[in-house]
Symmetry: D2
Subunit: 363 residues, 4 copies
């Protein structure tokens, strides 16, 4: 059942701006995001911590909010002007979505805002008014070896990727890359407003769920420094996957799991996508370099685990199962396959590249 | 004499896209840009070489064209759609500028284009149609230690910076940073269309002249590698200034001089400026960290030397002298001064920070 | 059966100097070591290729020699003076080893040399006389993004590590780090002559076999560049393990497999060990950060696969099975365990850290 | 007047180990070395601060000691065994030097030690006994963006470089590189015990004086991070020269001046020199890439300013003027010259490479 295209124009979105995240142990989360990752506290009280990256000038990029269930409360986008909020209201009302607008904002530091439960079940927020704070770009006395300088993107899990993409295109996003197979199944798609590879991606799976939120560093060694520090703190088990080089996006990456299991990516060095005719890159789902350019296996938890998202009343959204084949199933395990070179046999990966669940081939 | 604001809307510019550069010895220039810097040849013949950076998908970012006088023939911007060319024509006609449109383009690989001599005397080009070529982002087998991945910006010399800024704002650019003094003189301004610190900057001085064209690398060590290679080739005298960290833009930089003396910057890691209310950063001209965050002296040639620009017939534009005080004069030399800390004496720089022309203080 | 300590003093070894390696397809190996990894050809003919790293001044660090069976023909060490060869002869004769001395050397570019089959079954070579060649340290025009600058170490597989260590200490080596368990089993030991973590290591397993040879880069991004290039060449399946940070040695690492399956490590940034009382670091075999500081799983092939070594007639040495427990068995699989924090349960690793063969936990 | 070669053998020196430095404002010096540079405090009291680098396991690499005159109190070397101290005593007694031995050491954390005023007038110390402390190599939670990991070398100013070199060779050092001219004048020489380019260097000039002490980082970006932090702290005037690439040593470098004007180098990535026949590299004093591989000018203060050294009673040593021509005079200024390419004219440097004191060519 496809989502109709509204006749109302979508709001003009500038960029993904912040994630509103519910955590169950605020102190533990603060330790992870502030003491380990070095995000900067703009404000905090007993209920929430407002964090920003080092080059940010708006109030926050991440809100950690104490709550009973670890979940994503909102994916917030900045729009180009206050008037765009009216357009957001009209756009989502026409789609039959629940829409809430608050002049005083939903989070501290942000003014007039619109929150919706979108057609995919995700809580999306749009705002323009926001408190400005010091951009710490030049404050190298505050930078750490793993300095996080920008919020880069969200990543969402949804059962039907093409359906999600069509809706996001109506919302003004453009696809930059995707993963497909020869049978026409789409496994994931990356979409942007700002001229990077994405502001958000749609990953095929049971959803709506938050797959991850990503922060950018300047250089690759910054990401390595985060791993080294986690080792020093004997928290290396926070590292879920990577570091590695993505095929999709060409970025250098690392995936961490926070104390609630929320996934955080650290990301650097994708490419300019801002031209109107930017070429879309489509990857074969069987290409073993699509998710990791070095062919290193993707850990199964990365495919299967994700965070719930909340409705506008703060209740977890029910999760709908994916009906298309899963990327994990078609690429690893008894019936799946991956290749390094398209001309190779289906079964050509050496033992060290087969991944954890290549069951038919173990021992 | 200020430039009137046209009633016609400006063309919607996406980004700075390429520089059309006249060189006097094509083989020597090719050696510098291709063999030393590693730009990629899209096409070449006896008259011209068309070069692109490694992440580019349009035909070229730099044209080296053989000619009698080393000069900049055009600063070319990509616009958002073919229709924007009509707007460019109307915009500049209303300004009384000479305008030329060629359906077949002015350079190979580019289609329908508009060239103008703008009110500041610079040859500006606007185009949408362009041949797509392979984006070599993933072709790490072709990358060198100093890999240039994007064209980042132009920098233009013009006598009256505020006048230039007002015109550029009419053209749709936004100021991100500038250098001023307490008396209200503006020495330079940085302006952007794409959400980086600039697509072009206006540097106060005798003009119109090309100050430099800049290419981006991913990491700082890439810039160091270019210096190291120039040393190995016994061409270290191509290094004019740097490497260093800019105060303005916060980027890591290097300035080179090509065989004709055209200046090329290598640049990495400025910050996101794409929000509509992005804070403008104004630097005090006497702040010794504005041009180099480490307070290292700016070599005088960097202030005084620049390349001629051509009119639409290919003749060098006459140069008009700056009448405002020059940045070099107010910051170094007998009457100028710079400080590291605003509270310091005017004369507080240690000997090693005073620069080449601190004449009153030598020996 | 322990190896007696000779009364004759050992030769004064300066450093590991080169590996003499038999490959079955010389063209394929040349492509890997020269075209992919960028080692420098000092000399080559139809039978062999002599390669060196960029900062080397002796004739070669690696000989690729065409032969019927892929194997290591010699681990060659440089000694401090020509006279040390006499000591090597006396030392090994006293041990009852087969010893061969050739005034003209065993490989091109090397003069008077001694080769032995040592008590562990490894072909060891000692030499002083060697042809000097250009040290390419300053030739940045020849450096690649993944520039290999030094031979760093060998790694040997042997069944009884403590027995091997005692012999190597008699030969003048010092232990810098090792892996043990509470029951007193030693799984591996690192030993040095030059003041780095090792010139060679002894890894417990069926032996004698060559585990790997390691080359050093200057920075971590050089290692990442090698991975990126292998991806671009669609040879990512040459990457066996990593990149990662070692616990042991604290170095950043990558393991590759060459066309014959010989393992090559790329390695950077271990620490100074040259003080006579340098503290030995002993790691618990169950510490999940010992082999990879980030706790990323070690691929089983890394534990089980290695290259044969040759006797002085060029025949493969018979392999003796390890009788002590194996590191793989005690750390992964049904009966093994690893921890991130010593105080954790034996079974505390999250799913994404359990590795390929954590069989009791799969699916 | 040359220094006789003692018949007594020299002590077996392992490496340069620490500098004993008198500072006039202990709090200001602590702020620089600890809060800015991130050296680790092993111990401190009202009179002194004992600092070490992150990979060090002995008590200190630098002592900051409060005193009335900023000066170097001792250049301390570690020897291979306690017995070497007897050799040091005999060696220097035979040279007629003042020798003092203290069983309890001259600095906290160090035991039995010998201090001498050497034939060049420098206070040299030799010790073996030393307290071990935690090697923080793996403590990435303590590392900063500009992490200093090792003491690398000293650099001493002395009037007669060849005389100094002969004495240092008698002491067991080996020359790795030097700077000479065609007339046979030696301007500087680099000498090592450990297998890097140097443990100390002799720089021609009025002496005895301390030119600088150098600490090593792992990567080049660590050095850039120190500059960036100094900018953020508005202490960029601590940067005297660099960052840059040395010709001599091939290392990446930065020179800072501490609150007393003592010079500190930050240094990374020189090369292995431990082979007995390591080739000596001799640089032409007129080669503009010898001191900076990129040909960037050496600031005059770097040639002329240095710290006094103390005798064993704590009084500043008198300074003897250099009588040979100075490197600064023969390379810059009215009568000096430098070239980028040997075949160029004597006067071939472009304006931006001529340096601060190219007086005949200014304006």
């Amino acid at each position: 059942m496809s989502i109709p295209t509204p006749t109302a124009p979508p709001p003009d979105i500038v960029r993904c701006a912040y994630l509103d995240l519910v955590v169950t142990d605020l102190a533990a989360s603060r330790d992870f995001y502030v003491d380990v990752l070095g995000l900067v506290v703009t404000y905090e009280d007993a209920e929430a911590v407002y964090l920003r990256s080092l080059e940010e000038f708006i109030h926050h990029n991440l809100v950690l909010r104490k709550g009973p269930v670890a979940a994503a409360a909102a994916f917030a986008y900045r729009v180009r002007s206050p008037e765009e909020l009216d357009r957001a209201v009209a756009f989502y009302r026409e789609l039959g979505c629940r829409v809430e607008r608050r002049a005083e904002g939903f989070t501290r530091g942000v003014g007039d805002s619109v929150r919706v439960t979108d057609p995919l079940g995700f809580p999306y927020e749009f705002f323009y008014d926001v408190e400005h704070v010091e951009r710490l770009a030049w404050r190298y006395d505050l930078h750490t070896p793993g300095a996080l300088v920008r919020l880069d993107h969200f990543n969402q899990v949804t059962p039907d990727v093409p359906r999600a993409v069509r809706y996001m295109e109506d919302l003004g996003f453009r696809v930059t890359e995707d993963i497909q197979d020869a049978e026409g199944t789409t496994y994931a798609a990356w979409m942007r407003r700002k001229p990077t590879v994405h502001d958000t991606a749609m990953t095929g799976g049971d959803g709506p769920r938050l797959h991850h939120v990503a922060f950018a560093t300047h250089e690759k060694h910054n990401i390595i420094a985060i791993c080294d520090k986690l080792g020093a703190l004997r928290q290396s088990d926070r590292i879920e996957r990577g570091p590695g080089r993505h095929g999709v996006s060409n970025a250098f990456y690392l995936y961490l799991r926070d104390p609630d299991g929320h996934r955080v990516e650290i990301y650097t060095q994708d490419y300019w996508t801002g031209d109107p005719d930017n070429p879309v890159v489509t990857w074969d789902v069987h290409d073993n370099q699509r998710r990791d350019w070095w062919g290193n296996p993707v850990v199964p938890s990365w495919y299967t685990e994700a965070s719930p998202v909340l409705d506008l009343d703060g209740n977890p959204q029910p999760v709908v199962a994916r009906t298309d084949t899963s990327e994990m199933a078609v690429t690893i395990g008894a019936d799946g396959f991956s290749y390094t070179r398209p001309e190779d046999d289906e079964d050509a990966l050496p033992s060290w590249k087969q991944g954890e669940y290549k069951l038919g081939h173990q021992l």
